[in-house]
């Protein structure tokens, strides 16, 4: 393909986009891409929270009473060697008591009634993959010398299941909005195609190949997608910054993504998606009008 031909496609597509695309359709595209991006941001934050919660999931393995230091070291090595275990930390019964005292605060005096330290020695076990917590806990509990394991039974399972559900639901919603955007861009390009039906007819009659006719519309779709995505991407990026600042003042305990990189990456992804969806819409819709 000649360079001048490519230039012709770009110039034609750009000119046609400027001439035919109304502010209303551009606004509609920008709005739907904005919603798509907003869904993306919500997913990004949910993922962030989920990651945070999952990283806090730990298994505590309580040891039987009266084990020798050698025995404890051997158990530690055994746990360390277990599949899926990332890190093992020893928590002595004295340490556990101190932590408990600190947690009880003023009511720590009830511990004095008990007298002797009732807490067992234990290991804090961090797992490599939070999703496998339950299996790893079972494996650790089978090690001799381990009296019992605690990983927040019930709660952990529920948390993991909820996170998976939220991920799937989010992906479905995102998919729905992708379809909506393709449809809207396609409809916009379709309108310009209808308004240029005569031009397409003449092109066909003077011997233009189908692809020669299609390319400018593809470019037009890409321009429309890019402009719409740029507007929505910019609004999202700036809007998110303000939203985070507002939320930080209102509810500082909610963990939100504050780093600009993932948000910027999302906006860039939105741009790329806008261009691709525009090209697809432009390419698909013009095909119906090529039968002359």
């Amino acid at each position: 393909m000649r360079l001048t031909t490519i230039w012709y496609f770009l110039a034609e597509g750009w000119r046609s986009a400027r001439r035919n695309v109304s502010l209303i359709s551009l606004g509609t595209i920008a709005a739907s891409l904005f919603v798509l991006g907003a869904v993306g941001l919500v997913l990004l934050n949910l993922n962030h929270v989920s990651q945070l919660l999952r990283s806090r999931i730990e298994i505590r393995a309580f040891l039987e009473d009266g084990l020798s230091a050698d025995r404890i070291a051997a158990i530690k090595a055994q746990i360390q060697a277990t599949d899926g275990v990332k890190q093992v930390t020893f928590v002595s019964k004295d340490e556990a008591l101190r932590t408990l005292r600190a947690q009880l605060g003023e009511r720590a005096s009830i511990l004095d009634v008990v007298g002797e330290n009732p807490l067992p020695d234990a290991f804090d076990v961090k797992v490599e993959e939070p999703d496998h917590t339950v299996e790893v806990a079972a494996r650790v509990s089978r090690i001799s010398g381990v009296a019992s394991v605690n990983y927040g039974q019930g709660f952990t399972e529920k948390l993991l299941a909820t996170m998976r559900l939220v991920g799937v639901a989010g992906a479905l919603v995102a998919l729905l909005f992708v379809a909506a955007v393709v449809f809207i861009v396609g409809n916009t390009v379709r309108l310009t195609i209808i308004s240029r039906a005569r031009e397409i007819e003449v092109m066909k009659l003077v011997g233009a190949t189908d692809w020669f006719i299609r390319w400018p519309f593809l470019v037009e779709g890409m321009v429309v997608g890019l402009v719409g995505a740029s507007v929505s991407g910019l609004l999202l990026f700036v809007g998110y910054k303000f939203a985070v600042r507002y939320l930080a003042g209102l509810a500082p305990f909610i963990p939100v993504v504050t780093a600009p990189e993932p948000v910027a990456a999302l906006c860039v992804a939105l741009l790329v998606m806008g261009v691709i969806m525009g090209a697809v819409a432009g390419g698909v819709f013009v095909k119906r009008y090529l039968r002359v």
Binding site: R2, T4, T5, Y8, V202, M203, L205, G207, T209
Partner: protein
């Protein structure tokens, strides 16, 4: 010894010189539209290179269908069509654009793009074929000069008279140096003086070797040119005269000679 016999002796496949130079050939071609209307019925004919042919006949006789088949705008329901060595019926859709670069059309309603200048309208037809960009300008200007409109290159079609617009559409048709020029009622919307101007132009193009096939209702033009006339009626060829006139009994277009 006539040349045709020489050819016959050299290569028995060519039965005559006439056949060697045949550019368009229709073998029992019929076209029945989905609604049952008959476009063409069992038409057999051939047109030689460099000929000037009039297609005449009442409305609905099949003139336009004839032309549309040559450019593969419609497919015949039966028969075979050969144009410039290509089988139009068996052609793949991807080959159609290349057929249309050798067979260009001129229409009664010009089919110019109103938002492009005269120059752009003509250049468009050349660019579509991905011609060498350096050649676009000289070739477009050459065509416009041939039709006498080089001075109006920057005008828009809406600013031109009907005759001028038809000249632009002719310039667009010949800029790619087609083998065949199809003209469907090119003078249908024009007065007689202007029509003769268009005919002179088509004749000049024909003299450079381009085969011209023109459908028309205009009896005085047909009678004044004395060229081959193929008359269609109800989709059938009812007459094919080498130097014909537009004459048909009981036809309201009939014009008495003189």
């Amino acid at each position: 010894m006539p040349r045709s016999i020489e050819v016959y002796q050299v290569n028995p496949i060519f039965r005559s010189m006439r056949e060697v130079m045949t550019l368009v050939r229709l073998y029992s071609v019929s076209k029945v539209y989905p609604n049952g209307a008959v476009g063409l019925l069992n038409v057999d004919t051939h047109i030689r290179q460099g000929e000037f042919v009039f297609l005449v006949g009442p409305s609905g006789a099949g003139k336009t269908t004839f032309m549309r088949i040559l450019t593969r705008q419609v497919l015949p329901t039966q028969g075979q069509v050969i144009v410039d060595g290509r089988n139009v019926v068996r052609m793949k859709p991807s080959e159609v654009p290349y057929l249309r670069r050798t067979v260009r059309m001129v229409f009664q309603d010009y089919k110019l793009l109103p938002n492009k200048t005269v120059y752009e309208n003509v250049a468009f037809a050349l660019r579509v074929t991905e011609a060498n960009p350096r050649q676009v300008r000289p070739r477009v200007m050459e065509s416009l000069e041939l039709v006498g409109l080089a001075g109006k290159a920057r005008a828009y079609p809406g600013e031109l008279s009907g005759g001028e617009q038809q000249r632009v559409s002719i310039a667009r048709a010949i800029v790619g140096a087609p083998t065949i020029l199809l003209a469907d009622e090119p003078t249908g919307n024009l007065d007689l003086d202007t029509s003769w101007g268009i005919m002179e132009l088509l004749l000049r193009i024909n003299k450079t070797g381009t085969t011209v096939i023109m459908a028309t209702h205009n009896s005085s033009i047909v009678n004044g040119m004395m060229r081959r006339v193929i008359e269609l009626d109800g989709g059938k060829i009812v007459r094919d005269d080498e130097r014909g006139a537009y004459r048909r009994e009981a036809d309201h277009y009939m014009v008495l000679p003189g």
